[in-house]
């Protein structure tokens, strides 16, 4: 088989993994080729608007498992291909020196058994690091059920290691991926968490959940994320809107991937990690799913209007972060500037604070942006919905640039 054909097959079967972040590593050039960029670098953007940072491929799409949602499941009649370690190295190096990519994201279908597959990944990446002296970014998938010793070996070679949780609950996983179980995922995450340092998985671990293939609510999904952030200090949970690839009576008959829902989950995930929100602030058993019309933070604020409007000149950092439309950067700017002068609406604009959403929830030096009668739920809610009309113009992969 031609190299080009292999590449097409093995990129096509890897494309459903959402992660492509290359941030968080300080790996230096050590008499070879490449280095890591701490903030991560996007080298291109695909037709779906997602960042392309890494050469994202499978080593092989042959697989002994039969996960219902997966393109590569054994019962699918598709073309199969396998890269040799040398081939993977050659493509990586050639792409890297032309500045197409930041590094490699290597995953694989399971051949023979977990350990055998894992050993092949290690062999390939070890060749790339030691023979080709490649110091660029490498993200590898840990194979579920492989020996701890192999996880350790692989972790010492890569920048990021990830094990996919795949589905929000262990029951769903049992149903759709009968060969996998959630304990295997937890074991790997626990091991990486306990051993992470500047040599072992320096840029941390991430995971991915498929959204909409099973019946879980947003509440169940976010609780699972919260638990993993808490227990394993994950860098990221990626949410991947389910795309119907296979026909199976166990899978829902969706026509389009639930992109809007995925987007809300990413927004809420952001609130958990950087804004001190808890899942219980955002969702409960009576409202177990996010409002599709309004983003989670604004939705929360509208339910707690008694806490607003907040005075920009006196609100604490934590309170500033609760204001819809105000992020970490703006909050920090406000805090450091107001020591030196009293902030007015005009100043906020000069400071680069975007007021489109925030203006409904703040006062500056005692003044509201409009008649104070307008500070009521109906007015604010309808205006926010109007402004949020074209959600898909933004792609939230970008967030991974700095904090992935």
């Amino acid at each position: 088989m031609q190299l080009k054909e292999k590449l097409i097959i093995l990129a096509d079967s890897a494309k459903y993994d959402a992660s492509c972040s290359s941030s968080g590593s300080m790996r230096k050039n050590n008499k070879g080729i490449g280095n890591a960029a701490f903030s991560g670098i996007c080298h291109s953007f695909a037709s779906d608007g997602r960042c392309i940072s890494l050469l994202k491929i499978l080593m092989t799409n042959c697989c002994i498992y039969d996960c219902k949602y997966c393109l590569n499941r054994k019962s699918n009649n598709i073309k199969r291909a396998t890269f040799t370690p040398e081939e993977i190295c050659a493509i990586t190096i050639n792409f890297y020196k032309r500045n197409y990519i930041e590094g490699l994201f290597l995953s694989s279908g399971i051949i023979k058994n977990a350990n055998y597959t894992m050993e092949l990944l290690i062999k390939t990446i070890s060749l790339l690091r030691n023979k080709y002296h490649f110091n660029g970014y490498i993200h590898a998938k840990a194979i579920l059920g492989a020996d701890q010793m192999l996880v350790k070996k692989l972790g010492l070679l890569v920048d990021r290691l990830s094990a996919n949780i795949e589905l929000p609950t262990s029951d769903s996983l049992k149903l759709l991926a009968p060969n996998k179980n959630q304990n295997q995922v937890n074991d790997i995450m626990q091991y990486v968490h306990d051993h992470k340092d500047e040599k072992f998985v320096p840029s941390g671990q991430s995971t991915q959940m498929i959204i909409g293939a099973t019946a879980e609510s947003d509440l169940q999904i976010m609780q699972q994320s919260e638990k993993m952030y808490h227990n394993y200090s994950l860098k990221r949970v990626f949410y991947s809107a389910y795309i119907p690839i296979n026909n199976d009576k166990l899978l829902p008959a969706l026509k389009l991937p639930p992109l809007k829902r995925e987007h809300r989950l990413y927004q809420a995930d952001w609130l958990l990690r950087f804004y001190n929100f808890k899942v219980s602030d955002l969702l409960d058993l009576e409202n177990p799913n996010f409002n599709i019309l309004i983003d989670p933070k604004a939705n929360w604020a509208l339910k707690h209007l008694e806490l607003f409007p907040k005075e920009i000149n006196t609100a604490s950092y934590h309170e500033l972060l609760q204001i819809p439309g105000i992020g970490e950067k703006s909050a920090k700017r406000i805090i450091s500037s107001r020591k030196h002068f009293k902030i007015t609406f005009k100043d906020l604009k000069l400071m680069g604070v975007v007021l489109k959403r925030a203006k409904y929830f703040i006062i500056c030096d005692g003044k509201y942006f409009a008649n104070t009668n307008l500070f009521n739920k109906r007015f604010i809610e309808s205006n926010l919905i109007l402004e949020d009309k074209s959600p898909n113009t933004h792609n939230y992969q970008q967030l991974s640039l700095f904090n992935g």
Partner: protein, 249 residues
């Protein structure tokens, strides 16, 4: 009306020395321009021939900090027409507020200066990703880019660390300048002083470009197609030099 325009040697340190001199002597310039400036009829050009003193860097760091010096440098690299005047007023406020000057965003020169510095940084960051090298028949990696701001030096620093064992050349199509790396250092030279012996591609080059284009085409998920989003992150002005996008222009 005062039409005095003060001239500086075409480099950053020359500009800083001039500004420091003007401030010390309480001269408020109408404008500051480099030696290439084409004057209008009414302009009165003044060249003070200030001696260059490297201590000025230390002085700025002592008065504020390294970050402020870096911001001033980034503003200097900006394509903005009156950047020198922005630096003058930024510098003036630095003397007053020291390191806190970056928090004084209610001052126009500060907010504008920081905005320009950000644009420069952003262009460097984007090009770290979007620059594309092609391998020439003599094995040199060659990239062309149209740089809005003067970021050739900053880009070269990045690739010196990243590809230390390759010969590479980056051309700024806007300023007609080349950065040439010889596996030890890079040198920035103008078109008149540099002759690229060949632009012939290596035998393997088309092959690799083809592989990459196929990868690019394959990795997008058609059910998620989103041109608007792609355009946001990768504006069309960069496409000309991004090989996987060429055919879409």
């Amino acid at each position: 009306m005062d039409n005095k325009i003060y001239l500086y040697d075409n480099n950053f340190i020359g500009l800083l020395n001039l500004i420091s001199f003007l401030i010390t002597n309480k001269i408020k310039p109408q404008n500051i321009k480099n030696l290439d400036y084409q004057p209008n009829l009414l302009d009165e050009l003044i060249n003070l021939n200030i001696t260059i003193d490297k201590e000025i860097f230390k002085y700025i760091i002592k008065t504020s900090n390294k970050d402020i010096l870096r911001i001033l440098y980034y503003i200097y690299l900006s394509k903005y027409d009156n950047k020198e005047l922005v630096i003058y007023y930024f510098y003036l406020n630095m003397l007053k507020y020291h390191a806190n000057v970056i928090h004084m965003r209610n001052l126009k020169c500060v907010s504008l200066g920081l905005k320009l510095a950000h644009q420069v940084k952003d262009e460097v960051h984007k090009l770290k990703g979007f620059l594309r090298f092609q391998e020439l028949s003599n094995k040199i990696l060659y990239a062309k880019a149209y740089l809005n701001n003067d970021v050739l030096y900053l880009l070269s620093c990045h690739f010196k660390n990243r590809l230390p064992l390759e010969y590479w050349i980056i051309k700024d199509e806007n300023r007609k300048m080349y950065s040439v790396y010889d596996k030890h250092n890079f040198y920035i030279v103008s078109e008149e002083n540099f002759n690229l012996s060949t632009e012939k591609l290596s035998n393997n080059e088309k092959n690799m470009q083809d592989l990459w284009k196929e990868f690019y085409r394959t990795i997008g998920i058609s059910e998620r197609k989103n041109d608007k989003c792609r355009m946001n992150f990768m504006p069309k002005k960069y496409w000309k030099y991004i090989i996987e996008m060429e055919q879409d222009i």
